[in-house]
Symmetry: C5
Subunit: 104 residues, 5 copies
Amino acid sequence: MFLARITGSVVSTQKVEELVGQKLLIVEPLRVNEKDQSDLQPTGRSFITVDTVGAGKGEVVLCVQGSSARFTPGTKTLPIDCAIVGIVDSVTLKEKQIYEGGDV
Amino acid sequence: MFLARITGSVVSTQKVEELVGQKLLIVEPLRVNEKDQSDLQPTGRSFITVDTVGAGKGEVVLCVQGSSARFTPGTKTLPIDCAIVGIVDSVTLKEKQIYEGGDV
Amino acid sequence: MFLARITGSVVSTQKVEELVGQKLLIVEPLRVNEKDQSDLQPTGRSFITVDTVGAGKGEVVLCVQGSSARFTPGTKTLPIDCAIVGIVDSVTLKEKQIYEGGDV
Amino acid sequence: MFLARITGSVVSTQKVEELVGQKLLIVEPLRVNEKDQSDLQPTGRSFITVDTVGAGKGEVVLCVQGSSARFTPGTKTLPIDCAIVGIVDSVTLKEKQIYEGGDV
Amino acid sequence: MFLARITGSVVSTQKVEELVGQKLLIVEPLRVNEKDQSDLQPTGRSFITVDTVGAGKGEVVLCVQGSSARFTPGTKTLPIDCAIVGIVDSVTLKEKQIYEGGDV
């Protein structure tokens, strides 16, 4: 899985029936700062995901890719390859907390 | 999933039976402009996909990869690893609309 | 899926029983020429694939990756992650034909 | 599969029910030193994984990706794409031991 | 699938039950020499795989990735994402044999 920040959303009216009612969010994966490993940094990349936990814009979330994105109660039959499965409260790296919910 | 623009098509007469009648489209993935995040830019890469929503040349679409490409009514048994599952109306990033259907 | 040219073959006598009788071909993925998008160019990369359509050396083919490589009648139980599922007749990009079968 | 060192952890209270009670660990993939192949070096990348073997911070572990991360007794129905499936005792490359459990 | 040379091994005592008795080998993927396509060259990357054909150190083998690594009689229920499914006798590229078993 990977950590990402929710940065936007996609609207699609004409889509496969399975996706009707699903919120399509844009997330930007985050990486550990390579210099001093003191925080999480944006990567500039983006994925379109389906949210399963009621996450909101700006929040840091846990995303799962591939067939496993279909292993939540609400996504079992969806044609999706990425899902948000958790909202991140905190991230600890080498005994140091590098992220806490609410940071922007 | 990822956003892409439909740029072309592939014709193949001699193919596996499961693909007969399927429209093979070339899509070019789009990425968020890294400078100011004000629009979507072409990446120069390309994927061959099967269209499930009647999308047309030049349109921006939502694509799904991997086994999930087989999770639409029309693609369940197809040997495909990428499918178009939605036509994109608009994309909003950090409260700003960076794409609206019809843009070229 | 991706487009590739068949460039070679692999011989393996000692292999899992499921692969006995399968032709193992080397394919080189092709990409759209980034300069003027006028043709397909070799990428220098290579994949080992199983052919399901009787393709020959030098031909441009359509390849599928991942679990979907097992979704053809002849590959359902094979331990393979890439299969050739079509021989390409032509490729059209932005209203211009950039490849026609027989080109080398 | 790939080798990685456990470097941190993620706390998520609001998550899909399937992940409740699962320990979410951050691992950093290791690569063979390209110069002289004498040791394993950090790559700077990171994955979020679920631990299935009781591994601890700092340990070098074996990680599996994709749908196979669900093929352990404790992860069969989890929406995860990466799992720790072994703690590494030693790594031997070209007849030379380049890692032994306990090295930091 | 990809070609690789077996370069080492991993010992893990504490692992998931499904992996007990499985030989964990390190393989280094090979690529076609980009200059003149006359031989196979090491890539510096490495994967941990399970051997299903009795391959030995130094041999060039055929590896399969993803869920298909579980499609051999001995790996059906294993949490693995890469398996060795054949020992390579020879590789021919553009009518020229660029590898023959026994080469080191």
